[in-house]
């Protein structure tokens, strides 16, 4: 009984952290911070990192890491813009971009499983390769693209759209989050992801098809980076090959703050989303207070370390 309560407390820890950070800023930031508008803004700004970190949640639960997501996002924005300029309809362009993300992820997965190399080094390599491809495809320029409904996905709501509550992109984040949560809980694949991350040897003994599962994990990570790229394009309205450099660190941080363990076998969708929100709230609060960028960076760095220390402490408690 006591233990169950403890477990719940542990699961709610990221939520508590989020609420705490929010309350702190509610007191020290200008009154606009607690407005509904700002809540919407925070949610919108979380979308890109949030979607990418859903894929990363799978990767990290499975005991791996994917450093190439930032580059994939950039490549996807470029692909979408390129397709639009080539005269494709927005839906084709969007699908094409997302598909490019999927392909990138599958390449990662194939390299990791076939070459049997640590994901860190493979995705470090593809980080450079995909970024280079993005720049090459875009001729080292940003690609302007005609406006279309894609750009509405993550724009602030117009008054006549208020029935949507939040923009379509945020709905997409929510749906994808629910989807991944369900996949983790209600599919064989989800079970395998956890077991591989927790103990790859034992999973092999139990006949888990490790290679296929890993391929799928990195494929999904790429697919979600593709969706994140779509959102990024929606915000930028241009295909920018230099965008999202360093995004991978934000994404990994979101997963880890949300309780994911780099040793694998642990993590949750809810935690990840909360982790991503925590970082946006900090950034938003600091910006609206007019605090300097460097303070934000230091605060974010400290929060990452503190979050992981807390995580370690609660593990110790349990064992």
């Amino acid at each position: 009984m006591n233990k169950q309560i403890k477990e719940w407390i542990n699961k709610l820890m990221p939520l508590a952290a989020l609420v705490l950070v929010y309350i702190v800023f509610a007191f020290i930031a200008p009154p606009s911070f607690v407005s509904l508008k700002n809540l919407e803004l925070i949610v919108r700004q979380t979308t890109i990192v949030g979607i990418a970190s859903l894929g990363m949640t799978l990767v990290i639960i499975g005991g791996g890491i994917d450093l190439s997501v930032g580059s994939i996002v950039a490549l996807v924005t470029v692909c979408i813009a390129w397709l639009l300029m080539a005269g494709c309809s927005p839906i084709i362009a969007a699908l094409g971009g997302v598909f490019a993300g999927l392909v990138c992820g599958l390449i990662n997965g194939a390299l990791i499983t076939r070459l049997k190399l640590v994901p860190f080094i493979i995705t470090l390599g593809t980080l450079l390769v995909y970024r280079g491809c993005a720049k090459g495809l875009a001729h080292e320029q940003k690609i302007d693209a005609p406006l279309s409904w894609i750009n509405e996905l993550l724009a602030a709501l117009k008054p006549e759209q208020s029935w949507m509550v939040v923009p379509a992109g945020v709905w997409m984040l929510i749906l994808l989050a629910i989807l991944i949560a369900l996949v983790l809980k209600y599919t064989r694949f989800g079970l395998y992801v956890f077991s591989i991350g927790s103990n790859e040897q034992a999973s092999r003994l139990c006949g888990v098809p490790i290679e296929n599962v890993k391929l799928l994990i990195y494929g999904i990570s790429g697919l979600f980076a593709g969706f994140a790229g779509l959102m990024q394009f929606s915000r930028l309205t241009v295909g920018d090959p230099t965008v999202a450099s360093g995004l991978e660190l934000d994404v990994i941080a979101a997963v880890v703050i949300g309780g994911g363990s780099l040793a694998g076998g642990e993590g949750s969708v809810l935690g990840t989303i909360l982790g991503a929100l925590i970082m946006t709230v900090i950034r938003s609060g600091c910006t609206q207070m007019g605090l300097s960028n460097w303070v934000q960076e230091i605060v974010t760095g400290i929060i990452i370390v503190v979050a992981v220390v807390l995580d370690r402490m609660r593990h110790k408690q349990q064992s």
Binding site: K3, K185, Y186, T187, R188, G190, L191, Y192, F194, S195, S198, N199, Q201, A202, S203, R204, L205, C206, G207, V208, P209, G265, E266, Q318, S319
Partner: protein, 503 residues
């Protein structure tokens, strides 16, 4: 009286979480003496030596070294006090050279600078004494397992020490090397070193030791001068347990053969194994640590690669991956529970159904509810003590963890069960339940292959027993023709003819 001992241990107690590894051990060793420490697996020998070497801190007890209190807080302190130890399970840092491994932690140096020349000479001498000329610049990962063992021995002797501890140093070296080791030990003894020698090879103990001490269940149960006793008495002291109703046994009806091996040879330890296992039969494989039993089981199950030989499971011939083996109706329980057996950070239920999640799927969707319900069934059937089935399996006691590992095969409904040390580290009560399950399975026409280091349980549960000795499996014999003594003799025999002959 006490002055004649160099090292003295009083009432040492060590607990790991729930298990008591040492329960008040007294032990002493004099200068110029070789003491053999013997006992069954899990008796606490290694733990006791780890206490000496600073790797384990005792919960209770007192130690003194040359009349001074001795309480090493880490391996470093112990080594500097003159305790050298060859660990049973120490794997050497494999990317270092032989010479570096020999001196790691006790380097010869002038200030910060290593004196490689001097170390080279000392290491060379130490290896010469062992009669080996392994190149000192070879990386350890390029050495064979037995050469690695020699490096460990050389490490202990090269550095110099007051007390030398050897925890099963001969488990993987040849007879000739053992003789060289013994002459080295005699030299050291003559120079006044104290040596503690742990081994399951009783003939070696008789040959080299002056005195023996027997541990059982973390307590000292006896000892004495080697010359004053017989090997049978020592075995009796080691095993010394009444085995009455611990082993339920029904009459098994044998069916068609399910597992057939023909001269199976693995990549590492397994030299040759041939037998036939029939439905309704429980077969045991006995052998000493490192004799290659685990290799055999892993090779059958597709976890280790096979060099040659034939293998047939049911109607399927040839080699296969673990997932194919499951599909062919075979299942395996690993000896290495934490490393390979269970996903420690996942729940009981997940571990239980991991090999067969299809059983918890309704129209393609995996149902956690059904998984928990399934797990609940097995938990109550096997009376596993747990809070709930979505508890992390790492929180369970070893015995209960082992039951889940076994329940995985039962749930999967496999016909062929490969059990590697299925009762390692678990209490007597749990053991009995597991034996009952095994007996039940045989009655229901399944085939069971058990590997165990615990001889009584093999004698109690199996229909036939084969003995593995240094990679070779003897032909299985009916348990009625065997005694503990005869099996043990076969396992520790040093001449191969004796093993493979059926007499």
């Amino acid at each position: 009286m006490s002055s004649e001992f160099r090292l003295k241990l009083d009432n040492i107690k060590v607990r790991f979480g729930g298990t008591t590894a040492l329960d008040g051990v007294d032990f002493a060793v004099s200068p110029g003496e070789i003491v053999a420490l013997i006992g069954e697996n899990g008796a606490g020998k290694s733990t006791l030596m780890k206490v000496l070497s600073g790797a384990v801190i005792p919960n209770e007890g007192h130690m003194s070294l040359e009349e001074k209190p001795f309480a090493p807080r880490n391996p470093q302190e112990a080594r500097h006090s003159g305790i050298a130890m060859i660990y049973q399970e120490l794997s050497l840092p494999a990317t270092l050279t032989v010479q570096e491994n020999i001196f790691l932690g006790m380097e010869i140096s002038k200030g910060w600078i290593l004196d490689r020349g001097k170390m080279h000479n000392v290491a060379q001498t130490a290896l010469k004494e062992l009669g080996h000329d392994i190149s000192l610049e070879t990386l350890v990962r390029n050495l064979s397992i037995s050469d690695q063992q020699l490096v460990e021995i050389a490490r202990a002797s090269a550095v110099g020490c007051k007390v030398l501890i050897l925890d099963e140093p001969t488990s993987s070296i040849t007879r000739q090397d053992v003789q060289k080791l013994f002459s080295l030990m005699r030299n050291l003894k003559a120079q006044g070193h104290s040596i503690i020698y742990i081994s399951h090879f009783l003939e070696e103990v008789e040959e080299i030791a002056d005195r023996f001490v027997v541990l059982r269940d973390g307590k000292t149960v006896g000892g004495g001068k080697i010359g004053d006793t017989t090997r049978d008495k020592i075995v009796a002291l080691m095993v010394g347990r009444q085995l009455t109703d611990l082993y339920p046994r029904s009459k098994h009806a044998f069916g068609e053969p399910l597992l057939q091996l023909e001269a199976l040879t693995g990549e590492t330890k397994l030299q040759s194994a041939s037998f036939e296992l029939r439905r309704g039969e429980v077969m045991g494989i006995f052998g000493l640590v490192g004799s290659g039993r685990t290799d055999l089981i892993r090779s059958i199950f597709g976890l280790d690669s096979i060099k040659s030989g034939k293998i047939k499971i049911g109607t399927y011939s040839g080699y296969a991956t673990p997932s194919q083996r499951w599909a062919q109706g075979a299942g395996m329980v690993s000896e290495d529970r934490k490393g390979e057996g269970l996903a420690i950070s996942r729940s009981i239920a997940e571990n239980l159904i991991l090999s067969y999640p299809q059983s918890c799927e309704t129209s393609g969707a995996f149902s956690p509810k059904r998984m928990l319900a399934t797990a609940n069934e097995w938990v109550s059937k096997l009376s596993v003590k747990c809070r709930s089935t979505d508890q992390k399996i790492g929180e369970l006691s070893g015995g209960n963890q082992q039951k889940i590992a076994l329940a995985r095969l039962l749930h999967h409904g496999v016909d062929l069960l490969l059990l590697d040390e299925p009762t390692r580290g678990i209490d007597v009560g749990s053991k009995k339940q597991i034996y009952e399950q095994i007996d039940n399975l045989a009655c229901n026409g399944k085939a069971v292959l058990i590997v165990s280091s615990y001889l009584p349980e093999l004698l109690g549960t199996c229909d036939r027993i084969a003995v593995m000795n240094r990679g070779r499996l003897s032909p299985p014999r009916n348990v009625s023709e065997l005694t503990e003594h005869s099996v043990m003799m076969k396992a520790i025999a040093s001449d191969l003819e004796n093993i493979t002959s059926n007499a």
